[in-house]
């Protein structure tokens, strides 16, 4: 089959084994017992009726001591709560049975006696006086961050124009079509789990921490992943399945129903953002940002989101004086989790909408105003980070030109929006990859599973091909579980091609050094592909790979070399930090998007007519999968922009845990999308690549919102731009 995707045939024939497809002889099926309230004191969990059913194994907090002798696990994150439940559907017990039907019946038979406590479902409930007043200390604050530069008060006092606005953003779910699923098998002290995960090694670490086990006793074997988008980046079901396997002595399968996927998934939660900007002489002189970010039941001191997200609210813009303060606010929802570029699309929506509004209020052209403040290479960010090669100014110029062409032939009730976003790539801990050269070709051995983006199978393969000079058909990428694979930190953070790819590039260099030592001679080394076996050439010297292998290599599959990628992190100017931890970014990348929409003024319905994305990528490694990432990211962003909103009731109940009520984009709603890569602004990845998985989603909601404003004048300050919200802004509702 001809395809840009190495996995096309297997997937098109339905042969790919995902987490949900796992089974083992003698396996039991598991089900979780959910808390019936979002906040409550747990009085008792009575398993007796479940245990009375034939073949049923049931466990709760009371069983942890006997299942995990000598271990306390993570006291802050007990697998099962023993005193207090903090979000609705939080698992309070788990059961396993020979059939799924029986397991679910047994879960229903567990009697949970819980005394309901007051529920906090919304950040503004916690801080009613916000943004004027925020309590110094509150049990609901998981993190507080504050950074300052310059005399902000004076700048606001003397500015020509001051604009103050409040924005609200929605909770969005990853909606991977494959629900979470795993199969655990605990035997003789080996805690083994096969699971659909973006991070086999990260999940191993999580499981070891949560269960209080030595990390070497846990083996995580990743399956193919039916979509991740951040939602499969840490352990979720694995601890329950492992404990049930330990308790029953049998393999245990646990997979979520889609409703549970919505209810238990860790994802982006709502925010409220206060934006204040002061402008004089056509320039931003100061900005105040106040962020209340709902982090659900994320733990105090462990929450990373506020310090990570808040700097996105200054945008990629020069801002001489600023004060930004953020609170990660605890509510009775599941903990905050990653969702493709976590919270960055929401920040871009706020910043771009706000600056567009500021420019209009100051009588300036909104795009020219933003372009005038955009970072360029050699600048220093407001938090004191140097801006390296940065393709965003070029991307924005091109997006503006596209928008101008579209305006020329615009129809009635149409509008065009241009928006930018930035991201940091190449992050994460270090990683390692091995390459193995045999007479037949080059094999990359590594520990990541393909989650769909193509970054492992196509991206890593393309890096190895380019580094070795072999055609991609001669390169294979193989996977091993955490017991034997070289460590890598996971497929997340747009890091795979850039960071793991770097390790692969290094491994090929090490291989070539080794080949050079074996071959002798001088000058560059080349691998030669004939019709048959590979050979190696250096100047006038040439040998086949078979001739260069020693006996054990011939028996063991080839000449092995390994390479490492060392995790990179940037630095910030700590003098600006007044409270909390701010995260440093590396390898800035950017995207500029143009959207054209048509708005039905009587209903507020927004239709996206055409879309153009200009993406700073450093260097394109695998063109087909790279373009596919941008298309997919833009469409996912259209969901954030227009329809996606998980809604909670005041008592902490998720009101729309299904695909009929939580609407993601469908085929008929997708506009034509043109994808253009801006190359040459190199990052630290192989051949100058920067990460690509997340950036394409970032500017989408902003571009759509600005297009809606351009079309109708409606200034919508909440996500998503549902028909209802647009209609209200147009005062037809």
């Amino acid at each position: 089959m001809r395809s840009p995707r190495p996995d096309a045939r297997e997937k098109l024939e339905g042969r790919t084994v995902f987490g949900v497809d796992l089974e083992a002889p003698g396996m039991l099926w598991a089900a979780l017992v959910p808390s019936p309230v979002a906040h409550g004191r747990l009085k008792s969990v009575d398993l007796s009726a479940a245990r009375a059913l034939e073949g049923v194994v049931a466990i709760s907090a009371a069983d942890l001591a006997s299942l995990l002798p000598g271990s306390t696990g993570d006291p802050d994150r007990p697998v099962f709560p023993s005193n207090t439940v903090v979000y609705r559907n939080q698992p309070v017990a788990a059961v396993a049975a020979p059939t799924l039907e029986l397991a679910r019946a047994a879960a229903r038979a567990v009697r949970v006696d819980v005394e309901a406590l007051p529920t906090v479902s919304d950040v503004e409930e916690v801080f009613p006086e916000w943004p004027r007043e925020v309590p110094e200390k509150s049990e609901h604050i998981a993190a507080h961050v504050l950074a300052r530069e310059g005399d902000v008060d004076e700048a606001f006092r003397t500015a020509e124009t001051v604009v103050r606005e409040t924005y609200r953003t929605s909770s969005v779910h990853q909606v991977a079509i494959e629900p979470h699923a795993c199969l655990a098998d605990v035997t003789e002290g080996a805690w083994r789990v096969r699971t659909s995960t973006q991070t086999p090694f990260g999940t191993r670490e999580d499981v070891a921490t949560l269960l209080g086990l030595p990390v070497e006793s846990v083996v995580v074997d990743g399956t193919w992943v039916g979509g991740g988008f951040g939602g499969k980046g840490s352990a979720l079901l694995e601890p329950y399945a492992l404990l049930l396997s330990k308790a029953s002595g049998r393999p245990v399968k646990l997979s979520l129903r889609y409703r549970e996927e919505f209810q238990l998934g860790r994802t982006t939660l709502p925010s409220v953002v206060r934006m204040e900007t002061a402008v004089s002489n056509g320039r931003i002189v100061a900005r105040r940002v106040r962020l209340l970010l709902d982090v659900g039941t994320s733990l105090p001191g462990r929450d990373f989101t506020a310090g990570y997200a808040i700097a996105f609210l200054l945008g990629p813009y020069r801002t001489p004086a600023f004060e930004m303060e953020g609170y990660a606010v605890r509510t009775n929802k599941p903990p905050f989790g990653a969702h493709r570029a976590p919270f960055a699309p929401q920040c871009a929506f706020v910043v771009e909408s706000h600056l567009d509004h500021v420019a209009r209020e100051a009588g300036l052209d909104p795009v020219v105003f933003r372009a005038a403040h955009l970072w360029k290479e050699g600048d220093t960010t407001p938090m004191g980070q140097p801006v390296g090669p940065f393709g965003l100014p070029t991307a924005l110029e091109r997006a503006r030109a596209t928008a101008a062409r579209w305006r020329a032939d615009a129809g009635p009730d149409t509008g065009v929006g241009v928006a930018v976003g930035f991201w940091s790539t190449g992050t994460g801990a270090g990683g390692e990859a091995r390459v193995r050269l045999s007479p037949g070709g080059l094999e990359v051995v590594q520990g990541e599973r393909e989650i769909g983006s193509g970054s492992v199978l196509a991206g890593v393969r393309a890096v190895a091909a380019r580094a070795s000079g072999l055609s991609p058909q001669r390169v294979t990428v193989s996977y091993e579980d955490t017991s034997s694979a070289p460590f890598d930190s996971g497929v997340f953070g747009s890091r795979t091609t850039a960071a793991l790819g770097r390790a692969v590039d290094e491994a090929v260099r090490a291989l070539f050094d080794d080949l050079g030592r074996r071959l002798g001679g001088s000058g560059p080394i080349r691998l030669l592909e004939g019709p048959g076996e590979l050979s190696v050439e250096r100047g006038a010297v040439r040998a086949t790979v078979r001739e260069l292998e020693n006996d054990s290599e011939r028996a063991g599959g080839g000449i092995v070399a390994s390479g490492r990628h060392y995790g990179r992190s940037g630095t910030i100017d700590e003098r600006k930090v007044a409270a909390g931890t701010f995260y440093a970014y590396t390898d800035f990348t950017g995207a500029a998007h143009a959207a054209q929409v048509q708005v039905d003024r009587s209903t507020g319905t927004v239709r996206v007519l055409r879309y153009s994305a200009f993406q700073d990528v450093g260097a394109v490694i695998d063109p087909a999968t790279a373009a596919a990432q941008v298309e997919g990211g833009v469409v996912m962003g259209l969901g954030t922009a227009l329809t996606e909103e998980a809604m909670w009731s005041e008592d902490g109940r998720l009101l729309n845990p299904g695909l009929l009520d939580y609407r993601i984009p469908t085929l008929g709603e997708v506009p034509p999308i043109a994808v253009t890569f801006v190359e040459g602004f190199h990052g630290a990845g192989p051949f100058g690549a920067k990460g690509l998985g997340e950036p394409p989603i970032i500017p989408v909601a902003a571009a759509v919102a600005l297009a809606v404003r351009d079309a109708t004048g409606a200034h919508v300050t909440e996500l998503p731009l549902s028909a209802e919200r647009v209609a209200r802004a147009l005062k037809v509702l």
């Binding site: 995707r5 098109l12 991977a176 039916g226 833009v634």
Partner: protein, 157 residues
């Protein structure tokens, strides 16, 4: 115990024993027949991942009771390689790169094959696409799937 339930699966006759009245065709296909290329997504008819063909017609197996299809001919993704239209659809999806994680892919292939059966091999690209709206994909943004359908119909028989 209920009487055996006859069902032809990918061209082969089967006789299923003890199928409860409430068993969904999705569970029959995946766990009774072991044909796990058919995927479980929402289990409520919203995503299309579980699409199979029943007597050639595209059917959501999650909303179908197995007893409803007694005596029918069932085709799943595992049977597509022996189906000339199925092979064409697979080729077009492969060439267009119309898949990423691959989880929704069998459902798309079956839905499209069903549509081509229903509307004829020369159906227009637009009418095919308008009827594929019930299949959700979160990875591709659908554009590569649109290109696959265009490729298929441009180079059709």
């Amino acid at each position: 115990m209920t009487r055996p339930l006859p069902l032809t699966v990918n061209g082969r006759p089967h006789s299923l024993e003890d199928v409860p009245d409430s068993e969904r065709l999705l569970d029959t296909v995946r766990w009774r027949l072991g044909l796990k290329g058919t995927k479980e997504g929402c289990r409520s008819g919203d995503c299309g991942a579980c699409t199979v063909l029943v007597d050639g017609a595209s059917t959501l197996s999650c909303l179908t009771l197995t007893h409803e299809v007694e005596g029918s001919s069932l085709t799943t993704i595992e049977g597509m390689s022996e189906d000339p239209v199925g092979r064409d659809v697979q080729e077009a999806f492969g060439r267009a790169g119309a898949l990423q994680c691959g989880y929704c892919t069998p459902g798309f292939v079956l839905a499209l094959v069903g549509l081509l059966r229903e509307r004829g091999r020369s159906a227009s690209v637009d009418e095919l696409l308008s009827d594929l709206g019930g299949n959700l994909c979160r990875c591709t943004g659908y554009l590569a799937i649109v290109r696959a359908v265009s490729l298929l119909q441009k180079e059709g028989p």
